[in-house]
């Protein structure tokens, strides 16, 4: 379980929502702070608008399994509320959900948004953030993933400064027009997490 020595995180979302960008930033921040990392991700067919997840493991000790064992995850970090619920059986009894409240509806049987959020709230300590509104406020609706990274940064064992450093590394090559909204999105997400 969570200590300063290890953290296991399930990243969740729908193909195309940018969870691998979140993973890149946490991976590199963790490596810089002297953690070992393993990060299992999804490529290929499943990426086409389907449910995608990434298992991200950080530890000061040797990491064996590339997959997080069910019951070991400290955090489910999701860019989509229904997707947050898909992985709760990975959560440790004291693990936490940090999720966006903005649904990505591309299936006919998507449940009522309120029923999804209500179910999430039943998990103790869950944090729900309106990533869509905050990303727009930051300047681009495409930065919802960075909003969620900001929200999760309250609970990550890597320092926020390290995360910001690699937000810069990732987005600076795409110019100020992309970088600045992402930096704002991170801060807005962090504040929204309370």
């Amino acid at each position: 379980m969570s200590s300063s020595l290890k953290q296991d995180i399930i990243l969740a979302g729908v193909g195309g929502q940018g969870i691998l960008s979140i993973a890149f930033i946490i991976d590199n921040a963790a490596l810089k702070e002297g953690f070992a990392i393993k990060q299992a991700e999804v490529h290929g067919m499943a990426q086409r608008g389907g449910a995608v997840q990434s298992h991200l493991r950080l530890s000061k000790n040797k990491i064996w399994s590339d997959l997080i064992p069910r019951g070991e995850a400290d955090l489910v970090l999701s860019v989509e509320p229904l997707e947050a619920l898909r992985y709760v059986d990975y959560l440790h009894p004291r693990g936490r959900i940090v999720t966006s409240s903005s649904p990505f509806v591309n299936i006919p049987d998507y449940p009522l948004q309120e029923s999804v959020l209500e179910r999430i709230r039943k998990f103790e300590g869950s944090v729900i953030v309106d990533s869509e509104a905050l990303a727009k406020a930051a300047g681009t609706s495409r930065a919802q993933n960075t909003v969620m990274l900001g929200a999760a940064s309250k609970y990550l064992i890597v320092k926020p400064e390290s995360l910001v450093e690699f937000i810069r590394v990732l987005f600076a090559p795409r110019g100020e027009k992309v970088l600045e909204p992402n930096l704002r999105a991170f801060e807005l997400g962090r504040k929204a997490a309370g």
Partner: protein
């Protein structure tokens, strides 16, 4: 040395580069794609070494074999089913042997995350009687690739490097070594490379004679390791590749862990297995894929006085990939406490065609053209358009392997299916669709082939297609399809009625027609726009 975060696929690629690679060839396929993507990225436009996509895996294999013939180090990478396509040269390459070091990377996809079956490539290595390495983690993926080149050159034999999805697509830290120079040109001896029966008999005998040396290598390499631990003589574990990680994850903190034999090099290290089996009463075999080790250890009748457990015994599932949980259960550890969703009904979210995908417009037109025609059958192929199987399209009836749509439509048409429609993407057509179309053209079979030309290999992330645009049209005409029955359509909603008419006309024509639906993949168009920004 430098530490880098790499995908398992990338660790193999970098290991090859540092081992003195001269050329790599591949055809895209999950989970192997990123080996070549990485090679292309670090090749500096091909100035450091050759890194190129090929038209299919057989071609890629033969190109790499040519590199090896020339005395230089070669790599070919492919997904498990790609090795079926390359099986012809693969099975004979053990006879020619390797002149320059030759590593065959086969990435298996147990649980079929993005594949049509879950075959285990270790059987192919056994079939060809060549050594096979199976890394457990990123560092081993890097190190074993170097080791594979050394073994390949020392023993003049191609070496397989077998990966599975969870390592291919997992990132981890790798400490790299110094790079070594490439080989210089030194062509192979003609008597070793001309597989006339008179030469092949001699060369096959040589491969058979080498087997004992391969086993000795497996018994002495540090990548196969018997860790006796302190856990007594009841249970012993044999764990290979990624299965070893799940075993160790579950033994973390165990007071007296059982002995573990880790296997990452094949053929099987007989003496190490014997030592473990003699030491314990029960052996649990944990391997990703089919029960290759388990079957070998157990034999047909088992070992007197010993129990062998694994996938065959039902202690682990026979199908699908291993997980930390299935391995935990096989170790008789209680499940970890966890949270649960309980009463909430979770809607599934399967992959689907992108909104606005050109394939969707073609499939809609096809559905309308075939509306009410009960006997119509649509033979599909490998690519994004196979997602047209799902509602709301429900537009295709088969998908088997690369190119099967064309040959199956011909066979079915000749068996009396009408209309018989084949649907294939441009890259899949280049890969394996041209020869069956040649066959259909020779017989003027009553069928319609629709080639979806989106100009890319979309499902795997947008690699170049070789049979697209003007060249595609010239190929279709060149194999003998009547020019009047090669029709080009633009799959857009505004042309829907017109496209339905074209399809209906060609379905009514009692001979071979090919309809080419041309519109760029949306994802690729987006990427181009982003680059232009």
């Amino acid at each position: 040395m430098a530490k880098e975060i790499l995908l398992g696929d990338e660790a193999v690629a970098l290991g090859a580069v540092h081992a003195g690679l001269s050329a790599g060839y591949s055809y895209p396929g999950t989970p192997a794609t990123e080996v070549m993507e990485y090679l292309i990225r670090v090749s500096k436009g091909g100035s450091l070494f050759t890194a190129a996509w090929s038209v299919n895996e057989k071609t890629a294999f033969e190109e790499a074999l040519g590199t090896s013939f020339a005395g230089k180090r070669a790599l070919v990478s492919m997904k498990h089913v790609g090795l079926n396509v390359a099986a012809d040269p693969f099975m004979s390459a053990s006879l020619t042997g390797a002149n320059g070091g030759f590593v065959v990377v086969a990435a298996d996809d147990p649980s079929m995350h993005s594949s049509q079956n879950e075959q285990d490539s270790r059987f192919f290595a056994q079939f060809a009687q060549i050594p096979c390495f199976e890394p457990a983690d990123h560092q081993e993926a890097y190190d074993l690739t170097r080791e594979a080149y050394d073994l390949s050159e020392n023993m003049s034999i191609p070496v397989m490097l077998r990966l599975t999805t969870r390592l291919s697509h997992s990132r981890g830290g790798v400490e790299t070594r110094e790079s070594r120079p490439k080989n210089s040109l030194k062509p192979g001896a003609r008597e070793c490379w001309t597989l006339l029966p008179t030469n092949a008999r001699v060369l096959f005998k040589k491969v058979l004679d080498q087997q004992a040396a391969f086993v000795r290598h497996s018994e002495t390499t540090p990548f196969n390791r018997l860790e006796m631990n302190s856990g007594g003589r009841t249970l012993g574990i044999i764990a290979s590749g990624i299965g070893y990680n799940y075993v160790m994850e579950n033994l973390r903190g165990a007071a007296s862990p059982p002995p573990v034999l880790k296997i990452s090099a094949y053929p099987l290290p007989e003496s190490l297995i014997r030592r473990l089996v003699e030491h314990v009463g029960t052996v649990l075999v944990v391997e990703e894929g089919y029960p290759l080790i388990e079957r070998a250890v157990k034999g047909m009748f088992g070992i007197h006085g010993k129990t062998v457990l694994g996938r065959l015994s039902g202690d682990l599932p026979l199908a699908g990939e291993l997980t930390p949980e299935t391995v935990r259960a096989a170790l008789h550890e209680p499940p970890r406490e966890r949270q649960a969703l309980a009463d909430f009904k979770l809607a599934g979210r399967p992959p689907q065609l992108c909104v606005g995908c050109p394939h969707a417009d073609t499939l809609k037109a096809l559905n309308d053209a075939l509306d009410g025609v009960e006997t119509a059958t649509v033979f599909s192929d490998i690519g994004c358009y196979t997602l047209g199987w799902f509602p709301p399209y429900s537009a295709v009836d088969t998908c088997v392997c690369m190119g099967a749509s064309v040959g199956m439509a011909k066979g079915a048409a000749e068996a009396g299916i009408h209309p018989a429609v084949a649907v294939i993407g441009d890259s899949t057509f280049g890969h394996s669709g041209i020869t069956p179309l040649l066959s259909a053209a020779a017989f003027n079979t009553n069928m319609v082939l629709i080639v979806l030309d989106n100009g890319t290999v979309a499902m795997t992330g947008g690699q170049p297609s070789f049979a697209t645009g003007e060249r595609l049209l010239r190929i279709i005409e060149g194999v003998g399809v009547a020019k009047d029955h090669i029709r080009v359509i633009t799959p857009l909603p505004k042309f829907h009625a017109q496209n339905v008419r074209t399809l209906k006309d060609e379905i009514a024509y009692p001979g071979l027609s090919v309809i080419v639906a041309v519109r760029e993949c949306l994802e690729e168009a987006k990427k181009k726009n982003r680059r232009a920004e």
